[in-house]
Amino acid sequence: MEAASVSPEGSVWSYTRVHVPIDAGEGPVVLVYVDLDAGARVLCHGTHEPAIGQRVRVIDAASARVLTLEPVS
């Protein structure tokens, strides 16, 4: 297996707001699965609840372990 660079753009596959405590964040965290245009499905944190199918760009968060996303117009 080799690492590959792909475009960070994709579409929201699904999402959930998690109300139980989890290690990765304070308060309710919005988890979002994004289907990258390149093919992979990656798990991100959303700053708000997106819509399924919404176009987004995946960006590195401060922690570098957790991806976040921003809308693409």
Partner: protein
Amino acid sequence: MNSSYIAGVGTSHFGKQPAGVEELVASAVDEALESSGLAAHEIDAVYIGNVFGYPGTGHRALRASGIHGIPITRVENACASGTLAFHLASESARRGEHRTVLALGFEKMSDWIKGPIPTDPLDPEAAAGMVLPAMYAMSARRYMHQYGATADQLAQVSVKNHLNAMENPRAQYRGDYTVHDILASRPIADPLTLLQCSPISDGAAAAIVRSGVAGNSRRVRIRSSAFASGRVWPQDRTEVWNQELIRRTTQTAFADAGIAPGDVDVLELHDAFTIGELVTLEAMGFFADGEAAGATTDGVTARGGALPVNPSGGLLSRGHPLGATGLAQVAELFWQLTDQAAQRQTPDATIAALETMGGSVGGLSGNGCVVAVLERDDEDRKQL
């Protein structure tokens, strides 16, 4: 093809309880032996399903039940650990390796897990905070989006299974809830609320599986049993998590049994979360994609419906002690097929199916799935 049979079953009570592993196992094993008319020394081998446990915890518990000195194998397959133990016991009896095999599942889960089950910390998903309820919640959201299913329809699965458990004295939770009650319970991972999530449970369950050689009692025939592991997921972007693996395993089990979904009279399946029951019913071929939600609301899967699903109360209400769950399903169906299910009885049940889905590994359609087809044996019917 050689056959294998279930000679007897037993379970503990399910729920958070003071009993330790040895007590839980003893209650399940003792009842299974009594039910089969066999003694501990007649067991030739044991397969154990257990997820959270110390090394040797099964040997320790069996020693206390008087079972020792024979091959004992412990397997882990997440939520399907007990069902995998059953599958291996069945295969070993069917191939004639052993004449009488004990399939045992147990979990003293309350000692190990407090909140939602976490995923493997080495998975990138875990770093982002993935927990099991969130995984199923995303399936639920996607399913609702794709098929127009409603939160009320999802909740109806929990209403039904809690109502079924009213007639199961061994169930962890039971209750006559409304859809509103289910939706008004504490939010866990939207759209799933607390009463749509299976609980943390302690429990044990056992089945005694025998080869078809002459002289062995035949009560319930294991018509087929199939085990498969997950593939890289997603391969098709419309498929929710687990769907591919459940479909593939079911197709093998039903083909080996020579049955179609319409032949099944009663079903126990993996409702770890409400959405799990709907996705599983469709993946197993009982309903077209998107139609299990409406069928549930229409009562098709209720007790007395055309296809009773989870008459025991399922994982949602009977409880979900991971390693024990699959064998609790086997026990319920054994009782259904021998007319011992009391108020839960499906009249004239002849063919039953069970499905258990285990897994949380990121990027796979599941870790492992087991589907089995059980059949009332004519010899048993003649004896009644």
